[in-house]
Symmetry: C2
Subunit: 246 residues, 2 copies
């Protein structure tokens, strides 16, 4: 038996999130990965994912492990699995790992991208891949405010109810806000993220961008540990899990 | 009665092209524009489009005219029409034009973009917005070959059957092939394009990129006026109508 670590990319639009639901009729990414691998290896598969992305959230570098007995060379597994995958999921890499490798707890750092389309009119082609904000945002203030998230903090104010982690302390290694045409892209790397944390950071930075929160207030909001002082949870469609480092 | 020129952006994925079909159950962009404007102005609308994009082809800067009697200020029309539009179409501008303004025949130049995703694996998020080519393409050769299309030529070799134009002579003002991450983007501006012309140019440049056609053969292929010597018609999803100048 080998444990294989897969890198998986998907368009989250037509999924009820990563995690398989009790109601097996709900389409989930995990369910499709299990189904495709089940077809290939002719056995029941229950993959373990690194990150439980919500409905509508996308991934370029999701990771998951499967346990299989196979003679297919590891580097050929992506092609073999993809032949059973729907068009909105693709496996882009596979490597063998130790039998006890847990892709969730072994993650050293994760990078997310949050995309805002900042224009008076909607963008039909990016409607599922960005959050539309009509009001012109002050990108410089957003970038300034973002710096306050750097480092180790108790991010309780940036955590949705339903979070199951033991601690709300996380460390942000890198964060940036960049203007790219009509898009504003937030990129954030940390040792882990609480439930909805990136979307609440994005929503808070949008409030900074419209002038509702000042950049120098972010530190206070973090220290308050009070969810009601942070911004709204920005929508799922703008969020993409970019990369996980082990 | 005023003639209003609209700028329209759409995601072509879920449309049977621009043009209204005899079978009114087929979803078309023109049909949706007519329906939305009909709701707003409470009368039958038959808009005239500048370009009959095919099923799957997208637009950022499509143009169409409507004839209406209205007290709504012209600059407010996009917002008013959009309130009746589905999420995959948006009107981004409106201006009053002369009563006999024909958006198709008055066009001085049109710009199209053709996007190729050049990577061993599919990209789920761009599956509807790019053509996937697995083989590594030689972008420099493609850019070199593209230059041969510049200027006034008889583009009969780059025209699908079913073309209704009187002449197959067209002038290309500008053409470029650029590498943008894992994408290769062809941008072409001309005084007009024959049926499937941009997609046949894209398909021919893909053949150049894989070495099946040499850059210096393009001139001969154009002069041959022989469709069978050019490349395949590249898929519709990679194509976007970017801009029309009057």
């Amino acid at each position: 038996m080998k444990r294989i670590l897969l890198t998986i990319s998907y368009d989250g639009t037509n999924f009820c999130g990563w995690q398989r639901q009790k109601d097996e009729y709900l389409r989930t990414v995990q369910g499709e990965v299990d189904w495709a691998c089940g077809k290939l290896f002719i056995k029941d598969i229950n993959c373990i994912g690194a990150s439980r992305t919500d409905a509508g959230v996308h991934a370029v570098g999701q990771r998951a492990v499967i346990d299989v007995e196979t003679t297919i060379p590891t580097q050929r597994l992506p092609m073999a699995i993809n032949s059973h995958m729907p068009e909105d999921i693709v496996v882009t890499a596979a490597e063998e790992v130790e039998a006890d490798f847990n892709p969730r707890f072994r993650a050293l750092r994760k990078t997310y991208e949050y995309k805002i389309y900042n224009s008076p009119f909607r963008n039909p082609m990016y409607r599922n891949y960005s959050e539309h904000v009509k009001t012109k945002l002050d990108v410089e203030k957003m970038a300034e405010a973002a710096k306050a998230f750097l480092g180790k903090h108790d991010f309780k104010a940036f955590c949705a109810s339903g979070n199951s982690s033991k601690t709300t302390v996380r460390e942000i290694y890198d964060i940036s806000v960049a203007e790219e045409g009509d898009f504003i892209v937030l990129r954030v790397t940390g040792n882990g993220f609480l439930y909805n944390m990136v979307r609440i950071i994005a929503g808070t930075l949008i409030y900074v961008g419209i002038g509702k929160i000042k950049p120098d207030e972010i530190e206070d909001i973090i220290n308050s540990k009070d969810r009601s002082r942070a911004g709204k949870t920005a929508g799922p469609r703008g969020l993409t899990l970019m990369n996980i480092v082990y």
